[in-house]
């Protein structure tokens, strides 16, 4: 069997404060190349913290991360600033709120993904290599943004289109791993399915390992191939979709409303 691309070992994440919050409690998980994993759970279960710990974005929220995270054999938590940037450039991250720069054109927003491959001076002057520009156009068309719109400001796009730009940005990174944190939570159900299909296709066509956080059980069962269930910061499920009984799973993960009422 091949080596895992991502290995999380005894991961505990604490948000300090007057009342410290333990968002993740001793989490262990291994992800293998090419997998399509859905992390399921209600809000507050620790899904976001898990993804944000993997590329250490959680440090922006002053989180204390304990344990070991190996990406491609390198311990992320021990990495220097420089190594961390190198690691991040190989992990595409998709945000719930898309996080595009509204004032910049669509094309530049996608090109931001290639910053790791462009020299510092060139990137500061905004002179991207022709090859990267080609790739950006290509990636945008691929996620469904036609060429005539590439010069528009990102502010003029709809939510679904902004998320497509977010995916194109991740693709420009030539990622080995895609982490998507509630990528469709702000979208209507139809657009949500369109965007989920893009993730599915990228995973199937290029074999890019993908981890998606979803709170919606319908989408979880429709797209997940392996499902990790989180509750109160602990993994309570980790099985391929075929081995999961949908009804007991929903009760365990989401709890049933009528039982509480």
């Amino acid at each position: 069997m091949t080596a895992p691309i991502l290995r999380v070992h005894n991961l505990t994440v604490i948000y300090p404060g007057v009342q410290p919050v333990k968002a993740l409690d001793n989490v262990n998980v291994e992800i293998y190349p090419g997998e399509f994993v859905v992390v399921a759970g209600v809000s507050g279960s620790g899904k976001s913290t898990l993804l944000r710990a993997i590329n250490r974005l959680a440090e922006n929220d002053h989180a204390q991360i304990h344990g070991e995270i190996y990406f491609d054999g390198v311990n992320v938590l021990k990495a220097s600033r420089r190594q961390l940037r190198e690691i991040r450039s190989r992990i595409g991250f998709i945000f719930q709120e898309y996080n595009v720069v509204e004032r910049l054109p669509v094309l530049t927003n996608a090109l931001v993904g290639s910053l790791g491959y462009v020299g510092l001076v060139r990137s500061l002057l905004g002179r991207f290599p022709k090859e990267q520009i080609e790739r950006a156009h290509h990636a945008l068309v691929r996620v469904g943004i036609p060429q005539p719109r590439h010069g528009d400001r990102a502010a003029r796009l709809s939510g679904g289109q902004k998320q497509r730009v977010g995916i194109a940005r991740a693709l420009l990174q030539k990622p080995k791993l895609i982490l998507a944190d509630e990528p469709v939570a702000s979208l209507d159900p139809i657009t949500a399915n369109v965007v989920m299909n893009i993730f599915k296709k990228i995973n199937e066509d290029e074999g890019i390992t993908t981890i998606v956080n979803l709170h919606d059980p319908v989408l979880t069962f429709k797209y997940g191939k392996r499902i990790i269930g989180l509750k109160h910061g602990r993994i309570i499920y980790d099985k391929p979709i075929t081995a999961i009984n949908r009804e007991t799973f929903e009760e365990d993960i989401y709890g049933t409303v009528d039982r509480e009422g």
Binding site: N60, R85, I87, I91, F95, V101, V112
Partner: protein, 523 residues
């Protein structure tokens, strides 16, 4: 149940007591302030007629002097242009090194922010007085003063924008593995530059207003003509100059507002137009620079003056004048308080009348009423103060009146905007329950607008404290009068003591005002 009513009754009594004490406090406060500014209704009525007599003597304006006034008018515009340009250049490093997004170490950004705050406390005319003393009469001093004034405001506003930019795109750019500089280039600057340009244009508007009058203390431009005309009692020329200043301010406001609106709405101009705009601005700057003939030797001399001033403050402060300076500063605060209050009382009804959505008011009427504050705003306080001094003689009262009238401009405009923003739902809820118009006003309209009115009042008070500290320079009471006397005897150490009193006072007022306003708005 009985217990509950007991407690409620106790609370009601407590609230009544609080209300009563608050009322007593307000009466005492205003009694004290009114006496401090020598407010006297009978003298207002007695001499008020003289004000209109004065206006009568000004009419008709003397347009024969117009050709001689073209050059000072252009000079006013040139000083404002250069002042804004240098101010923006000086503000950039302050913004960059004062931002937590760029600089990690508090050892760097705290001192930078401190400098920013101190620069911000010094009022416009005070800069003018200092620079005239440092660099001699003429436009060079005007450019110097305007540069510092502009730098302070641009730096402050842009840093506030920098603190409020959306952190989410920053996270996205970090997540692709970009370095610090790349994050600034792709996530911070695109968000910050539009705000910066917006602030620069806004400050240009302010600079034109200041530049038009600061010549009154010798800093070049139109204001110098105003001094001469006032001294020769050439009243018809005074009116001509006032009208010209008024026209200049209105035109610049209109143009600048158009451009700023376009920026806020994010309208993208085609490349040739953008290029044209840039070259117009560049030409304006170069033209101003050439025709003002700024003498750089004077800059060196000016630097000496400021070194001496700071040296005098540190080594040999005129402590014997400290008490007097504090007394005069208190009078400035009283002037600001009374002036702002009168203005507030006048502009609340104006706000309701000018609000377009107010029930039962024809739109054309509201639009007409809305022009009143716009027109008043274009008349600089200083000119009003000069007119009132000519009417009532020097003293704090002209200062109060100048502030009271000029502030109607901003208060009336913003009050109207507050009334227009009222949420309709509570009004409709009361109407549907059969409440009378007065009841609707008391229970649905007033609770919505009152906190915002008060917040605006406090904000204007904060601005007027600065104005009241300098209007004395032309004879309108407060600490400015002390600066004026000290300046004419070249007593730097006394000017220094005034600065030592003004800067912390204004800082404390700013801080308290920001605190209270936040409380009022957020509830």
């Amino acid at each position: 149940m009985a217990q509950w009513t007991e407690r409620a009754r106790g609370e009601i009594w407590l609230r009544r007591l609080g209300f009563f004490l608050g009322l007593l406090f307000l009466i005492a406060l205003y009694g004290w302030a009114l006496r401090g500014v020598e407010f006297d209704l009978s003298s207002i009525f007695k001499y008020g007629g003289k004000f209109f007599e004065l206006l009568g003597r000004m009419y008709p304006p003397d347009f024969s002097a117009l050709p001689q006034l073209v050059r000072p008018l252009l000079q006013t515009l040139q000083m404002a242009t250069l002042g804004t340009f240098f101010g923006a250049l000086m503000a950039l490093p302050l913004v960059v090194f004062g931002s937590q997004l760029v600089v990690r170490s508090a050892l760097i950004y705290w001192p930078v922010r401190m400098i920013m705050n101190i620069l911000r406390t010094i009022p416009d005319l005070l800069y003018a007085v200092l620079f005239v003393a440092a660099m001699g009469f003429g436009p060079a001093a005007g450019v110097g003063a305007l540069s510092f004034f502009a730098c302070a405001i641009i730096a402050k506003l842009t840093s506030e924008s920098a603190d409020n930019i959306n952190p989410k795109p920053i996270e996205a750019v970090e997540a692709v593995g970009a370095g610090k500089l790349q994050v600034i280039r792709y996530a911070v600057l695109p968000q910050l530059i539009p705000a910066f340009i917006d602030h620069v244009i806004y400050v240009f508007e302010l600079n034109v207003r200041v530049s038009a009058v600061m010549g009154y203390v010798g800093a070049g431009g139109m204001g110098m003509q105003l001094t001469t005309a006032m001294e020769w009692r050439n009243y018809s020329q005074v009116l001509t100059i006032a009208l010209l200043i008024f026209a200049l301010v209105i035109v610049i406001d209109l143009v600048a507002n158009r451009i700023r609106d376009a920026f806020v709405q994010g309208i993208v101009l085609p490349r040739p137009l953008r290029f044209l705009g840039l070259s117009v601005v560049a030409t304006l700057i170069v033209w101003s620079f050439i025709s003002l003939e700024v003498d750089f030797n004077r800059l060196v001399k000016g630097f000496d003056y400021f070194r001496n001033l700071v040296w005098a403050i540190v080594t040999d402060p005129a402590t014997e004048y400290f008490e007097l300076a504090v007394q005069r500063m208190i009078q400035s605060l009283q002037i600001a308080l009374v002036g702002t209050t009168i203005s507030f009382l006048l502009s609340v009804p104006l706000g309701f009348l000018a609000a377009r959505r107010h029930v039962g008011m024809p739109v054309a009427f509201a639009v007409g009423m809305k022009q009143i504050p716009n027109i008043i705003r274009a008349f600089p306080e200083l000119i009003l103060a000069i007119f009132f001094i000519a009417t009532f003689g020097p003293g704090p009262l002209p200062g109060v009146l100048a502030i009271a009238i000029h502030s109607i401009g901003m208060l009336g405009k913003f009050n109207a905007e507050i009334v227009e923003k009222i949420r309709k739902e509570p009004v409709e809820a009361l109407q549907s329950s059969g409440a009378s118009r007065l009841q609707v006003f008391r229970y649905a309209v007033l609770p919505q607008v009152l906190p915002e009115f008060l917040a605006l009042f406090i904000y204007r008070f904060e601005i007027n404290v600065r104005a009241a500290s300098v209007l004395g320079i032309v004879g309108a009471g407060g600490i400015g009068s002390l600066i004026n006397e000290a300046q004419s005897y070249r007593a730097w150490d006394i000017v220094g003591i005034c600065l030592v009193v003004i800067i912390p006072t204004v800082m404390v007022i700013d801080f308290l005002s920001a605190r209270i306003r936040k409380k009022l708005i957020e509830g």
